[in-house]
């Protein structure tokens, strides 16, 4: 669509008109109707589990971000760990009784609490980073497909369908077999695995939104395609995108852990939760359960809390379930 000289002038006046019209209505109704955010908040809080999940995730996020500050030791500083403390059971103390290993130690004498804090940091970083890149990529592709339609859409959706017909782990396996090991490689693999989910979601809701009057109005005003896409279409397809995003980040974290456990994901220099569990697996058969049990619990809490948040968001943001 070509740009129009009126483009800059018109939307501003429309927007001010809209806000001006909305203002008195909102003022009049303040006592009765909540703002959208308040309504969102109160609907989210209807589920006690969702509230718990939110706080669990907040704690996990805090631990991951501040791991170097709150860990009892730096588990990867060889000066701070003592191999003589290797494989101590949870609750053991050091020889001089100065330190207690609340969750035990691994084979190197590394405090499991610290190892898990650092592991969470790596797992969350990889999951979130790949999730965000995939979200942006998927949203752009999905919006483009829905807005332009025709051949572009057909080609993109054929590609999405093709990829989604293979399970994530197989695509990741294929990519990692080709690319090899490394942090960058696993992020690339996770992005390629995930983008299609976002693209499909965005396109599906954009197809509905595309037919709405406000898009027709924006087109009639002669706005540029990009402006319509980013300022008008994108905000309206955000809710389903956020829901898919939470679930996808959780599954990216799980997938990374799985691949790292299999020995084809992150290198041992980046000890994510998956690698900690893999390490503990070697000692499992001798009954030293804590080396892989506790990192697994941390992984589980992370994934479950994100999924529960996503589940509640899905219910709250779904207009079809609006009561």
């Amino acid at each position: 669509m070509s740009s129009d000289p009126k483009e800059t002038a018109e939307p501003a006046s429309i927007e001010t008109a809209a806000t001006a019209a909305a203002q008195p209505a909102r003022l009049a109704a303040t006592n009765v109707v909540e703002t959208p955010f308040q309504r969102f908040l109160s609907e989210y809080c209807e589920s006690k589990i969702a509230i718990v999940a939110f706080f669990v995730f907040a704690v996990i996020l805090f631990v991951a971000v501040f791991a170097p500050l709150i860990s009892p030791q730096n588990p990867y500083d060889l000066g701070q760990i003592d191999i003589m403390d290797g494989r101590l059971a949870p609750g053991s103390t050091t020889f001089d009784g100065a330190t207690t290993y609340w969750l035990g130690t691994d084979d190197q004498g590394r405090d499991m609490v610290s190892a898990i804090f650092y592991g969470l940091r790596i797992s969350l970083a990889v999951g979130a980073l790949s999730g965000i890149i995939a979200l942006v990529l998927g949203a752009i592709v999905g919006l483009t497909a829905a807005y332009f339609g025709g051949r572009i859409e057909a080609a993109i959706m054929r590609l999405v369908d093709l990829q989604l017909s293979f399970p994530a782990i197989l695509v990741a396996l294929m990519l990692l077999a080709i690319l090899g090991k490394g942090v960058d490689k696993i992020i690339i693999a996770l992005v390629i695995v995930q983008w299609a989910y976002y693209a499909r979601t965005v396109r599906a809701s954009a197809l509905v939104e595309r037919e709405r009057e406000y898009i027709a109005a924006a087109k009639a005003l002669g706005l540029s395609s990009w402006r319509i896409l980013l300022r008008h279409l994108l905000p309206n397809v955000l809710p389903p995108l956020i829901v898919v995003g939470t679930v996808q980040v959780a599954s990216a974290i799980a997938l990374e852990a799985t691949l790292s456990f299999l020995g084809i994901g992150l290198p041992i220099t980046e000890p994510s939760l998956g690698l900690l569990i893999a390490n503990g697996f070697d000692y499992m058969l001798t009954g030293k359960y804590w080396i892989s049990f506790f990192p697994g619990v941390a992984l589980l809490l992370t994934i479950v809390s994100i999924n529960l948040i996503g589940d509640q968001l899905r219910d709250v943001l779904n207009p079809r379930l609006r009561r």
């Binding site: 017909s165 294929m174 299999l262 479950v304």
Partner: protein, 325 residues
């Protein structure tokens, strides 16, 4: 119908071809097989000779043509590690994987559909709520960690189930099967449950959602108004309409079970092709990697094709709208 079939078949063949291109160029262009295959102490002459012997002196598109024509004859190269044809090695391990996936599929249907439909028909009972929470957990639990914990509980602590291998097998039609002996069944139990977990959760959610949606339809209200018993409504009218998405997804999940068996097989040392592929990726045994990927792609495309056919039989709207495009 025939037009739809042919169109769908052509699509399937195209997908296999595209995947062959991706796998071949991915493995051979991004990774350089020369570095792995050829002894670094070779002289220049020996080096050139080895490249010739491997066919690597040809331009890439010709190499691809050779690869493709060999692949069509069932020759996907010889394993660097085992010294045997890659396809043969994978074919030997295929039954173990199929047995595991089949057992997991069986578990997900017999457990998932009834539980999901129950949760869908009585959404407010506490049993339904715990079924739903359980299914969320089933989705969230990382398979490999659950597997490890199962080994910890049932093999290490309780000592009632074996943790590795297939146990005793019985040969039927020249293929070894574990599920026909008691010992084999005990070996199969943990891996099958482990592999089925996510799938059971998926089936529960699908049949619950399907049931809830179908229950609101006019034809269910009509059936109720006609005076049909709740039992008949649930088992005939709801079940039939709920099954459409479940069948599709389950069909597609068969492939995903085979792919995910990679994880379960590694945890339980189940001697299937999933364990082989992980070991092969780690030691860069490229012929096996290529063969596994091609075989899985073929398997997936076949499954998707069959599911689409079944789906179009169940829901005529699919082929009508498909033919119009």
């Amino acid at each position: 119908m025939w037009a739809y079939l042919t169109r769908r078949l052509a699509q399937a063949i195209a997908v296999v071809f595209v995947m062959a291109v991706i796998v071949f160029f991915g493995v051979n262009v991004i990774g350089n097989p020369v570095d792995i295959l050829i002894n670094p102490e070779f002289t220049e002459a020996e080096y050139q000779q080895a490249i010739r012997a491997l066919g690597l002196h040809l331009p890439l598109h010709e190499q691809f043509f050779v690869f493709l024509s060999n692949a069509l004859e069932g020759d996907l190269g010889i394993s660097f590690v085992w010294g045997e044809p890659a396809l043969k090695l994978i074919a030997q391990r295929l039954p173990a994987t199929l047995e595991l996936a089949g057992a997991a599929m069986f578990l997900s249907i017999v457990l998932g559909v009834p539980l999901g439909m129950y949760a869908g028909t009585k959404p407010h009972s506490w049993v339904s709520k715990s079924i739903v929470s359980g299914s969320i957990l089933g989705f969230s639990l990382p398979t490999f960690w659950v597997g490890i914990m199962m080994i910890m509980v049932f093999a290490v602590m309780l000592g009632i189930l074996p943790s590795t291998g297939r146990g005793d097998t019985v040969e039927v039609f020249g293929i070894e099967w574990s599920f026909l002996t008691w010992n084999g069944l005990t070996h199969l139990a943990m891996p099958a449950v482990n592999l089925a977990l996510t799938n059971i959760a998926l089936v529960i959610r699908l049949s619950r959602a399907g049931t809830r949606e179908v229950m609101l339809q006019d034809y269910i209200k009509f059936a109720r108004a006609k005076g049909l018993s709740q039992r008949r409504i649930t088992l005939v009218h709801v079940l039939k309409n709920t099954l459409i998405p479940v069948v599709t997804v389950l069909g597609l999940e068969l492939g995903s079970l085979i792919a995910f068996s990679v994880v379960t097989e590694t945890v339980f040392a189940w001697p299937g092709m999933g364990k082989l592929i992980i070991e092969s990726i780690q030691v860069l045994d490229r012929p096996i990697v290529v063969a596994y990927l091609m075989l899985t792609v073929l398997l997936f495309v076949t499954i998707n094709f069959l599911v689409d056919i079944v789906y179009s039989l169940l829901d005529p709207r699919v082929r009508v709208s498909g033919a119009g495009k």
